[in-house]
């Protein structure tokens, strides 16, 4: 039974467009730490970037020389999970007071990821939730997410693939065992999918609109476009330079 959402709570919508990796991760942290209103942010990456999970070793996951050669940014996230190559995708982040989401982390992934499933549905794509935080289309992954909780707030960010080039991705990512590289690449190709492979034609703006509506539906909120506050913008600027551009953070493990 479908229950129409009660659009009682207002959520702030931030459309921050394409930015570099340090700026993108700095904005997510700033809206988590300094933002005191429910927020949905949609963004992209320019130049393309790899993010690694909080617990990963940058050098074991990423071929930094190749990234440098190709102008690909590399940055550590404040969230766990794996390495992600961000190129043709829409990235989202949702910041909410913890009391507005289930206390159980798996449950809260399911609720927030609902926004993407609704969005894909509106685009005519039948998607399902799987595992901890994956969204599958025809059994193949089209979206992954990661969550952290700080100061009584939840940040969940994740991707929705518009297009994917697994070969290119693996020129930038290392594999746990070089002799297995070909097999790993082949496996990953079978296990991921993008909107481009499902829809003959799509407009990026339609995907963005679908995501906004999808998250509103999933979170039972209405969205209103705004800008970051001065405090957030200043904190983001500082974090981009001092934290997310530093060897010390990015090479921490």
């Amino acid at each position: 039974m479908y229950l129409a959402p009660v659009m009682s709570t207002k959520m702030r919508l931030l459309l921050t467009g394409p930015r570099n990796a340090a700026e993108n991760m700095a904005i997510d942290e700033a809206i988590l730490l300094a933002g005191d209103v429910p927020t949905l942010r949609l963004y992209e990456w320019s130049p393309p970037a790899i993010t690694i999970g909080y617990f990963q070793s940058i050098n074991e996951e990423v071929n930094l020389n190749e990234c440098k050669k190709r102008g690909v940014d590399v940055v550590r996230r404040i969230t766990g999970g794996g390495a992600v190559y961000h190129k043709h995708e829409i990235t989202y982040s949702v910041v909410l007071p913890e009391k507005l989401v289930p206390a159980d982390i798996l449950e809260s992934y399911r609720v927030i990821c609902g926004g993407i499933i609704y969005a894909l549905g509106a685009l005519g794509i039948n998607a399902s939730f799987a595992g901890i935080n994956d969204i599958l289309v025809g059994g193949r992954k089209i979206s992954g997410s990661a969550q952290t909780r700080k100061k009584g707030r939840v940040l969940q960010h994740g991707t929705l693939l518009l297009d994917v080039d697994v070969d290119e991705m693996f020129t930038l990512l290392r594999v746990p065992e070089e002799k297995m590289r070909d097999k790993i690449v082949k496996d990953v190709k079978k296990r991921v999918i993008s909107i481009k492979q499902v829809l003959d034609n799509y407009r990026k703006d339609d995907v963005i609109d679908a995501l906004i509506n999808g998250f509103c539906k999933a979170l039972h909120m209405s969205a209103e476009e705004q800008n970051m506050s001065d405090t957030e913008a200043e904190m983001a600027r500082r974090l981009a330079v001092e934290k997310y551009s530093s060897y010390e953070w990015n090479h921490m493990r």
Binding site: Y54, F55, Q56, S57, T79, G80, G82, G131, I132
Partner: protein, 95 residues
């Protein structure tokens, strides 16, 4: 020459997440440890607490230490048992 032995283990847990452990052993005790991987742990910086707790411990204390640590954290995509298992694997290879 310093006689520390090092060992290394990677565990792929069900669901596909990895936990990677490097340890150094000196005089039967853990004298180096780094835990990395693509799991989720809340709060994230508790990973440092686990490493700190294990330092200087005898290999027999790993199960107890991880068990105690796990009470204060939420692990997603792996279990405390997985952490115990891969740390012990790394220790065994250092011997």
């Amino acid at each position: 020459m310093i006689k520390m032995r090092v060992g290394n283990a990677v565990l792929k847990v069900s669901g596909g997440k990895m936990i990677k452990v490097r340890v150094g052993i000196d005089d039967g005790k853990i004298c180096q440890i780094t835990i990395s991987g693509d799991f989720f742990l809340h709060p994230e910086n508790k990973i440092f607490d686990l490493e700190n707790m294990l330092m200087g411990k005898e290999c027999e204390s790993v199960e107890r230490c991880v068990g105690e640590w796990a009470k204060d954290v939420v692990i997603v995509g792996a279990t405390a048992e997985d952490f115990k298992h891969v740390i012990l694997m790394a220790i065994n290879r250092a011997k």
